[in-house]
Symmetry: C2
């Protein structure tokens, strides 16, 4: 389903380096991307100056013109945006979520894997190799809601989670297809249908109904609270997880933590219909405290480039990046910590080798 037309052999990529360590890790992602692509594939990139710096300078988060121009690219690579000077919500609503919603990124794909030599906070190094399919365009993220009597003792602030049959079914179907394509063929729905009964009923009902079309896939349901327990005590039980936008936000950070930290967590905001460009980004933020020190680990961005390639149909190239990361982590000794650039160089050398 993700095999794109490769007729023209050009990747027209929008690049949003962003703030803090964003530009540093994106540079390494592009280095590895350039190294892995066959000679006959032309890579065109165009940089977009978006994020905190831009907002401080102009007050703009993303103009309609920029949104329109971004639409024409094959995909978007984003580093990280934000700094402590931007009020909470401004870049989230005005840029990140705006892109996810405008480009209908209904599959937010977040793989978790415990790589060799990576330190997990969990005792005994469990096997961790699962992927979360987080819904990306609905739920409590829609921005529905509001406040009355703001700032008074009678303030009421509401947030509305909106869930549609259309929106739930397409992401559940995508998750089943991904589970079907994996060796273990297991899919877990995570929700809280004992309390959020309306949304929960829609999710569970859709999950059960679509499941009848995938008889080979083993299914399982967990409340989100119980899911956090199993992610900590038995992450090996998970293969593919499908869940709503907010629960997905929460459990993927936890998943990243137990598999060694967000320095390695990649993500794709995917529009599987290809009507709009998909966007790939590391899960980590802009980490202003280490920006410019060369300490940022670009691996999450490089793994996000692999997701990007897979989405565009470059399966072999994506496999080579994944293998390079595994080899790199396996073979690194107890030597000195490597800089952002050195890790990028090492990965680029491996994929072109």
């Amino acid at each position: 389903s993700e095999t794109a037309s490769r007729t023209d052999r050009t990747i027209d990529l929008a690049v949003i380096p962003g703030d803090g360590i964003g530009p540093e890790v994106v540079a390494q992602g592009l280095k590895v991307l350039t190294a892995v692509l066959p000679q006959d594939v032309k890579l065109e990139t165009r940089e977009y100056d978006l994020g905190a710096k831009r907002w401080h300078a102009t007050g703009e988060t993303l103009t309609d013109e920029e949104l329109e121009r971004l639409k024409a690219h094959n995909a978007i690579l984003l580093g990280a945006v934000g700094d402590p000077g931007v009020p909470s919500g401004v870049l989230e609503r005005g840029l990140l979520l705006k892109l996810r919603f405008a480009f209908d990124h209904f599959v937010n794909l977040r793989p978790s894997k415990l790589f060799p030599n990576v330190t997990s906070p969990l005792a005994g190094r469990p096997e961790i190799d699962f992927v979360v399919v987080r819904e990306g365009t609905e739920g409590p993220y829609v921005g529905n809601g509001g406040t009355i009597r703001k700032g008074t003792p009678h303030e009421v602030a509401n947030e509305v989670s909106v869930n549609t049959a259309f929106g739930v079914e397409r992401v559940v179907r995508d998750a089943y297809a991904r589970a079907q394509a994996r060796p273990r063929k297991k899919l877990t729905l995570v929700h809280k249908n004992n309390v959020l009964v309306h949304a929960g009923h829609l999710w569970k009902d859709t999950f059960d109904r679509v499941g009848r079309e995938f008889p080979e896939v083993t299914t399982d349901y967990l409340h989100v609270d119980a899911a956090t327990i199993f992610l900590t005590t038995d992450p090996a039980r998970f293969d593919v997880i499908v869940t709503d936008n907010l629960f997905g936000d929460i459990i993927t950070d936890l998943a990243a933590a137990v598999s060694g930290g967000i320095g390695l967590a990649a993500s794709g905001n995917i529009n599987p219909t290809r009507e709009f460009p998909s966007m790939f980004e590391p899960v980590h933020g802009s980490a202003p405290d280490i920006a410019g020190t060369g300490k940022a680990d670009p691996t999450a961005t490089v793994l996000s480039v692999a997701l990007l390639l897979r989405h565009l149909g470059y399966e072999d190239e994506a496999d080579r990046i994944d293998a390079a990361v595994t080899a790199d982590l396996t073979e690194r000794g107890a030597g000195a910590a490597r800089s952002t650039d050195e890790i990028g160089d090492a990965l680029a050398a491996r994929v072109s080798g």
Copy 2:
């Protein structure tokens, strides 16, 4: 603030043993309660037959008469309710949440502590000793919302999170007071104010404003996704956490997991105004798979009894239970696993000794 009037020296306790292991752990909780109370305190208990068995037999979850009768008690001790035959949501909405809402249990208190000799899934046994103050009467738990076009491809299911200045302020104030009373005096607000901007603004604004009345308390804010990372990688950073109903549900299960499992996690659904009885229960469920085997660990229920005593003003007795649990876990050898009853006996012996 929790020092009750002890003039009449009677505890009139409602007991809801419930289903599965519920009655087994409640029996031990009552055993320890009886053992710890001074001779001049009269303990009166009345059992309420509520839960899955009752629902299967009568179709009732909680009648208005029962609710009225429960209201007259000093406190409620609940074991666990539910079995796989009850549709999801029936006992939650009809019994557990009904009690929390009817009795205005706006402070859902959930301490987490890594006791001696308890196995944490985290490597290196971090120091864990914090308490979550979870809001209990608002947020996405209010049951607001609904479905249109149910069962059709055009279904829309909404869930509304309702947050009021009144509701947020009283729980935030309670959390500050608890932080103020602890040696570290640190309070962390957990929310997601970069996405849930309406509710997030109310929470953060209230948190900052009330904080000015507690200048000794150090404060901190974390998004809920980031909080799951720190709960796994650095739980020692937490002292008191205040958060909304749903985030509290999620992070307290995670907190229980990292501190050795829900077999030890106690909770109080507290109405600090004492207008209505507060309810104390282990965080774990009815575990039908081990019911009747003597394998259930009653410690979470016994620790919930300590919370109950503290709420009723029996601080010394509560301290003795906490100390007994610590001593019991410290001194238990690598011997054979103990039964539910044996653990209850051991704890009862310690508190009366």
